[in-house]
């Protein structure tokens, strides 16, 4: 097992470097010169060539490509993600408390997804092809189809019209004031969580259906076990494996999924930072944020794999 973990960590390195390389190359495919675009973009024609040259040197763009990539990688290894082109502050500082906010929303959304998906999916499977099944299926397909940002807009609209109330705009860490924190963050978590529960619900349903066809369930029934014991202790335990994969997968994607929701709820998280970085063409920041989200994804996948092995004794990683 430990050998496996170490090997997986070592295997992650080429993927991470590949990810960094793709972002690096992509960012240099911008048509035209970044510095010229940024300094002269909005009709600022009085910028001299000298100023452009200085700026290029400051950003390290005068060095050859491979040196730039090398410097960037070395910086990352030392925990330095560069300096925002827009605010002039280190990227790591910009990420700091935003990461905390996004992570909390992501965790809460996952919790919402799990709490919806497992009971609903199980219920649908137990009543296959009867009305509870149809209701759950339509509910979950609707969840996949409904944009989380639209759901968010409708939520805020309903609060404003019915209660004349709006979730607080200022972020309070949960250990400072849990009530203020939750009254702000529970809504985006619900909006994204519903959407993310949809896939997990469908997975739970098909996994439970599959498990119910197994011999040991028939054995359990034959020996006269009570139905709820069969479901909870025998069926669900085994059906949960694929569901965990799906939930883990989605958690990894949540950082991306939050991009739009954060905009609606005006949350100052990673997603909002990303959108504004794209809007202000802050390439250093875009580059760093894409990297962070890809790294989160890769690491989450790794953790899910380990969890899988830990939960299912049949799986042996060598």
């Amino acid at each position: 097992m430990y050998g496996y973990i170490i090997r997986r960590i070592l295997l992650m390195i080429p993927t991470l470097v590949g990810v960094a390389l793709i972002i690096f190359v992509l960012m240099r495919m911008i048509p035209g010169d970044i510095v010229v675009l940024r300094l002269r973009g909005e009709g600022g024609a009085q910028v001299t060539d000298e100023m452009i040259a200085t700026e290029r040197r400051r950003l390290g763009l005068d060095k050859p490509m491979w040196r730039q990539f090398n410097d960037w990688m070395l910086g990352i290894a030392k925990g330095d993600l560069g300096t925002s082109m827009w605010t002039g502050r280190p990227v790591i500082e910009e990420l700091d408390n935003r990461f905390q906010l996004s992570l909390q929303v992501a965790l809460m959304a996952t919790l919402v997804a799990v709490l919806l998906a497992i009971p609903l999916g199980t219920m649908a499977a137990l009543r296959q092809d009867r009305w509870p099944d149809y209701v759950v299926r339509v509910f979950s397909i609707a969840g996949i189809a409904t944009p989380a940002f639209w759901l968010g807009i409708l939520m805020i609209l309903a609060f404003l019209i019915v209660f004349k109330w709006m979730p607080p705009i200022k972020y309070t860490p949960i250990w400072v004031d849990p009530v203020a924190n939750l009254s702000q963050l529970i809504w985006p978590a619900l909006a994204t969580g519903y959407r993310y529960s949809a896939v997990a619900t469908r997975m739970t349903r098909s996994a439970v259906l599959e498990v119910f066809r197994e011999d040991y369930i028939r054995t359990a029934r034959a020996k006269g076990l009570m139905e709820h014991i069969i479901i909870n202790r025998h069926a669900l335990k085994n059906a949960m494996l694929p569901v965990i994969t799906v939930i883990g997968f989605e958690f990894a994607f949540l950082i991306g999924g939050l991009v739009v929701t954060e905009q609606v709820f005006n949350l100052n998280g990673l997603g909002k930072l990303f959108v504004s970085a794209v809007g202000t063409t802050d390439y250093v920041l875009v580059q760093a944020l894409v990297l962070v989200s890809a790294f989160t994804f890769i690491i989450t996948n790794f953790v899910v794999d380990l969890l899988y092995a830990w939960l299912d004794p049949r799986i042996h990683y060598r």
Binding site: P14, T15, G18, V19, I22, I23, L26, M27, M29, I30, P31, I141, A142, I144, A145, T146, P147, F149, W150, G152, I153, L154, I156, L157, L160, I161, M166, V199, R202, M203, S206, A207, P242, V246, A252, F253, I255, G256, G257, V259, V260, Q263, V264, N266, F274, V275, A277, V278, G279, T281, Y283, V286, L289, V290, S293, A294, F297, I298
Partner: protein, 295 residues
């Protein structure tokens, strides 16, 4: 029988088989059939937009701003006095254009890469898979946003931004189906006959991975529409004055609550309905074509 006659004969049985299959589809999968009908309605509306829309979608009227839904403007007007119903009708053009183009190109490139990778095997396959792995580590919208930040906004770039993340997702699935094909006797036979690689890939392997391809194509359609709406909503997709559903949802909920709470309702319904239709259809298509695939 000459080759051409044989081909024609084969063609006829294929058509007969396809129509029989679609009749069966309507009978056994009523939900999927409903999805298909809804998809066709959206396509119909998109194609005939000029005939259906009562007003010009970009016609600004300062004397009719933020009018509530009425007989003249079924869904009211927006802050520029443009008719919301007409903008939704024309918005379906943008959504269908982006949805179809991005998912078709994305899935088809993925199909070719997947089959080629499986056929080539060995080191090529390894390398292609690693590259796809790297591309798959970007969440869909993150990669799309990164591409938009490089190439800029607008319909063309939005299509590009949505197409690229689709490619590896299709290539992955197609490859795993194609891998099993590599060992099938008739592929060996084709190779023994000395057919070229491209002929074996295109004529013998491709037709056998059409099922996963079609499943992914319909699944991508809904995702592409949703992604386009998200990008446009963020102001990083389709730009004004083009009618696009995501664009129509721009603006804070607080503003809507004060002035026109009905404004965000209809574009959202249009998006949800179209994605719902594609998913419903795609789901049943998957059940029919490949019952073993899950989720």
């Amino acid at each position: 029988m000459s080759d051409i006659a044989a081909d024609r004969e084969q063609g006829r049985t294929w058509v007969a088989g396809a129509s029989a299959a679609s009749v069966r589809f309507f009978h056994t999968k009523p939900l999927g059939a409903a999805g298909l009908v809804l998809v066709l309605v959206y396509i119909f509306v998109a194609v005939l937009a000029p005939a259906i829309a009562p007003y010009d979608p970009i016609d600004i009227r300062y004397d009719a701003m933020l009018v509530a839904p009425s007989w003249h403007n079924w869904m009211g007007t927006d802050s520029f006095g443009r008719d919301v119903f007409s903008r939704i009708i024309y918005g379906s053009r943008t959504a269908m254009l982006v949805g179809f183009t991005a998912s078709f190109i994305g899935a088809t490139l993925g199909l070719l890469i997947g089959v080629w990778s499986a056929y080539a095997g060995g080191r090529t396959d390894m390398l292609v898979q690693r590259v796809l792995d790297v591309f798959m580590s970007f969440p869909l919208i993150v990669l799309a946003l990164a591409i938009v930040s490089v190439f800029g906004t607008g319909v063309g770039n939005v299509i590009l931004a949505i197409t690229i993340p689709m490619i590896p997702r299709c290539a992955r699935v197609v490859r795993s189906s194609a891998l099993a094909l590599r060992e099938v006797p008739y592929i060996d036979a084709a190779r023994a006959l000395g057919f070229t690689h491209s002929r074996i890939i295109l004529r013998h392997m491709l037709p056998n991975v059409v099922a996963p391809y079609l499943i992914l194509l319909t699944a991508f359609m809904g995702q592409a529409i949703l992604l386009e709406a998200s990008l446009s909503f963020l102001g990083l997709g389709v730009q004004e004055p083009t009618a696009a559903w995501g664009l129509m949802l721009q603006g804070g909920a607080e503003q809507y609550a004060e002035s026109a709470p009905w404004l965000p309702i209809f574009p959202g319904i249009a998006i949800t309905g179209s994605v719902f239709a594609f998913n419903l259809f795609g789901d049943s298509l998957r059940d029919v074509l490949d019952p073993k695939l899950r989720t």
